[in-house]
Symmetry: C2
Subunit: 161 residues, 2 copies
């Protein structure tokens, strides 16, 4: 199982909730209650999302959080990045200080980047808008539609899954 940390998991749920709630600010307390997630966690995550630029916060009485962009301009990748740092599936993300101890012996490097990129792309194509949709979206709304009615391998099957 490819593990997303629970923070990112919750983060997406919270962002989705805010997207559905529409305009206006919501307090952490309110969001926690409605999503049935523990308040301290919610609070912690919302703060992180503010730091990541995905939410705006308003302090003081009647304060709360609100989206800083339209739902269609926020991708799942954005949320994950805000909560977990750059998306990548391996240690070799490329720009670390430590250039992979087995660097020259690890001939897989370049192709790892590819894997990371493929996944990142996939997640960037899913927006909050998609997530907030009451009914599950189909693949076709996210990836480019198949050409000449011939579905990309496997994609049509995925929608019925």
């Amino acid at each position: 199982m490819i593990r997303l940390t629970r923070q990112a998991d919750y983060g997406i749920v919270l962002m989705t909730h805010l997207a559905r709630a529409g305009e206006g600010t919501r307090t952490a307390r309110d969001v926690a209650a409605r999503t049935h997630l523990p308040l301290p966690m919610v609070s912690k995550i919302l703060k992180a999302l503010v730091r990541g630029g995905l939410l705006e916060s308003h302090r003081g009485v009647n304060g709360g959080y609100s989206l800083s962009r339209c739902p269609e301009d926020v991708s799942v990748a954005d949320i994950i990045t805000a909560l977990e740092g750059p998306i990548g599936m391996t240690e070799c993300t490329g720009d670390e200080a430590e250039p992979c101890t087995i660097e020259h012996t690890c001939a897989v490097r370049g192709n790892w980047q590819l894997v990371n990129e493929v996944v990142r792309r996939a997640l960037e194509n899913i927006t909050l808008d998609h997530m907030a949709a009451p009914m599950p979206c189909t693949f076709d709304e996210i990836v480019a539609p198949p050409r000449q009615g011939e579905p990309l391998p496997g994609l049509s099957a995925a929608t019925q899954k």
Copy 2:
């Protein structure tokens, strides 16, 4: 960072190595030496890959491991699945016994499946063949080529990254 366990990470490296090595069997010791990974780990992972049906083993003197399928018939998703179980980014993979304690309040369910599916698809499109290629592949060799010269959103940018 989306975390792949190190086992899966290593697993892909090992499979790639075997794919590059071509026909014939290799001992765990040999593979460990050439990939510069600790033998016990390599041994453990190769065993798991056998259980997953991706490798065949031959016991006794002159034994070793060999791929049980052509490199082009093995996807990165296959390897990850063999080492980590079904691919999914959240607890809600859908078919668990415990149907998610917050089930009816968690309105994100359906769309989570979508995220899982998108990632899974992405990983299924990357084969061992791609990984074993000496030079990094481009996106175009993996995803369907853009129709009428118009690239899928973002994909072309990814290749130059």
